[in-house]
């Protein structure tokens, strides 16, 4: 694959969730078309319920689109070959509470098909990188949110992926850890890794993303290179999406109904 070729490609993708009787309940994604090039840091932004997580799950092959085409490295997302090049950091740090930090990383290394010796070596390397070497033998069920996040981050990198999908990567982290994660994203990108991230924190996205797409009600309402927006990402976002929730709350408070 040459540089500039699309690592992720979505063409007119739709996802409709249905109830038990197959009646449509929600159009989570509605005709979304986007592409992410190799080496790019791409931000998928949007308010809650805009379809970001559904889009990510379709890219990961966890959900099938109702219509349209999703491809990963030119392959279907459920292809084992495509997944070999993929790392995923979910919004909540999904970890097995009964495994230690070291066992967690070795487990995910095993899922990547790494040999035991390589898995152990890489687990130690990543534990050192995320600053958890001292607590590597403790079960992750007793970890704080920030520590769990670090373990999940290390787990997403254990297969040395070419594409890293990060759902709210700075969620639940303190300012220092947030800065470290942003530095890490920049370092990974400089090393040639393609990164797709979602974030509610527009300042974070602005700091690290090369290009963004803003979703609202399952549709791409705007997008472009961050350096070419001509305004701050937050102003751009509010201009495209608005903030009806806050306006309603302001009106509610102004009426003096809040007691």
């Amino acid at each position: 694959m040459d540089d500039g070729e699309n690592v992720i490609e979505l063409v007119d993708v739709r996802k409709t969730f249905r109830d038990f009787w197959l009646r449509p309940t929600v159009n989570a994604v509605d005709g979304l078309t986007l592409s992410v090039s190799r080496g790019e840091v791409f931000g998928l932004l949007g308010p809650n319920g805009s379809g970001k997580s559904t889009t990510i799950k379709m890219i990961l092959g966890l959900l099938s689109p109702s219509a349209g085409k999703v491809s990963l490295f030119g392959l279907p997302p459920r292809s084992i070959e495509a997944r070999r090049k993929l790392g995923y950091l979910p919004e909540l740090s999904y970890l097995h509470p009964f495994l230690t930090a070291r066992e967690t990383l070795t487990y995910y290394a095993g899922l990547c098909g790494l040999r035991r010796s390589v898995a152990k070596e890489r687990a130690e390397e990543l534990l050192e990188m995320v600053g958890l070497s001292d607590v590597a033998s403790r079960t992750v069920g007793g970890f704080s949110k920030g520590m769990s996040r670090r373990v999940a981050l290390a787990a997403s990198l254990i297969g040395r992926p070419e594409l890293l999908v990060m759902d709210e990567p700075t969620s639940g982290l303190d300012p220092i850890s947030t800065k470290e994660v942003k530095t890490l994203i920049k370092a990974l990108s400089a090393g040639g890794m393609t990164i797709l991230m979602t974030s509610h924190l527009l300042a974070d996205a602005e700091d690290v993303c090369d290009r963004v797409t803003i979703l609202n009600h399952g549709k791409a309402v705007a997008g472009g290179r961050v350096s070419e927006l001509g305004t701050s990402l937050e102003e751009f976002f509010l201009a495209k999406v608005g903030d009806p929730g806050d306006f309603k709350l302001a009106g509610f408070l102004a009426r003096g109904d809040a007691r």
Binding site: K57, L60, G61, L62, L63, S64, R78, I80, E81, R83, R84, L86, G87, Y88, P90, L92, Y94, L95, H96, F98, L99, E103, T106, Y107, Y108, A109, G110, L111, C112, G113, L114, R115, S137, R138, T139, A152, A155, G159, V165
Partner: protein, 295 residues
């Protein structure tokens, strides 16, 4: 199917189930049944050996079934509800591979449980063979059964103490280390008993096989139910399956004849397969197909 990824899932699932307090409680209850049931009887009618064997096989059967159903359902539901399933499926493994490997992991943890109970059963049978009937004749129950009960109680207490010690000083997981120690002790004690009286005890090995086959059936069915239904509904489905299959399985009669060196009658095999069909169908239709097509 990737061998390394499957092995990882099998190992993690077995670790998960063997780290649960529920597993330790079931194992302790089964051991208590195994050790005390044949010992404290007013009359044994000269059948102390048989009583020890039946108590052990009953403990292996009932405890194994509880573990097979609840351990498997809990492992699968936790995987789905906590989101670790999504994390795992973003790796280069197929859903079918994940489902089958996780089921095997649950079965492996049940095998560890069976090793603990069966090893202890062999010790108790050997103890009963040596002194059970003599104890009844002479009335000196404490002296003759004493060493046997002491061995059985050791299989229960030593692991707990060692587990507590390892947890306190080395931060090793209590339940896991206690169960690993119990398995090691029971296997060693069982092996010692077999070397003392192989003619009596070796024929007991086939007697545990129907229980293990039955457990594989329930692990598979529970895995399939857990993937599709809520935990309570899945446990209810497993209960219905239990009621439907128990009369056909004929576990105790089979164990009785097998421990006397008989072979399994073909009609029993056919009936057992027929009884297993709902579980096999559930495994493939609800489990494998569902995890393949939908999240």
């Amino acid at each position: 199917m990737g061998f390394r990824s499957s092995t990882s899932i099998v190992k993690a699932t077995a670790l998960e189930i063997l780290s649960e307090p529920l597993t330790l409680l079931v194992a302790l209850a089964a051991l208590a049944l195994c050790v005390f049931a044949p010992t404290f009887h007013y009359h044994q009618f000269g059948e102390a050996t048989r009583m020890a064997r039946d108590a052990g096989l009953s403990a292996a059967f009932t405890g194994g079934l509880v573990l097979a159903v609840f351990g498997t359902i809990r492992a699968f539901r936790r995987e789905m509800e906590s989101g670790t399933l999504e994390m795992a499926l973003s790796h280069p493994i197929s859903r079918c591979e994940f489902f089958v490997a996780k089921t095997l992991g649950a079965f492996l943890s049940c095998l560890v449980f069976e090793a603990i109970v069966f090893g202890t059963t062999l010790v108790m049978v050997e103890g009963a063979a040596v002194g059970g009937s003599l104890a009844e004749r002479t009335g000196d129950i404490a002296r003759i059964w004493g060493p046997c009960v002491a061995a059985g109680v050791s299989v229960m207490l030593v692991p707990l103490m060692l587990g507590a010690f390892l947890n306190r000083f080395l931060r090793v997981r209590f339940v896991l280390s206690a169960l690993a120690t119990a398995a090691a002790l029971a296997c060693a004690a069982g092996a010692y008993a077999v070397t003392r009286d192989s003619a009596t005890l070796v024929p007991y090995f086939p007697a545990i096989l129907p229980t293990i086959a039955f457990m594989l059936l329930f692990v598979s069915a529970s895995a399939a139910f857990a993937v599709r239904f809520s935990p309570n509904a899945a446990a209810s489905c497993a209960g219905v399956l239990f009621a439907a299959t128990l009369p056909f399985a004929g576990n105790y009669y089979l164990a009785e004849s097998l421990s006397h060196g008989a072979s399994v009658p073909p009609t029993t095999v056919l009936l057992s397969v027929a009884a297993a069909l709902p579980a096999i169908a559930a495994f493939f239709i609800l489990g494998v197909k569902w995890t393949t097509e939908k999240t």
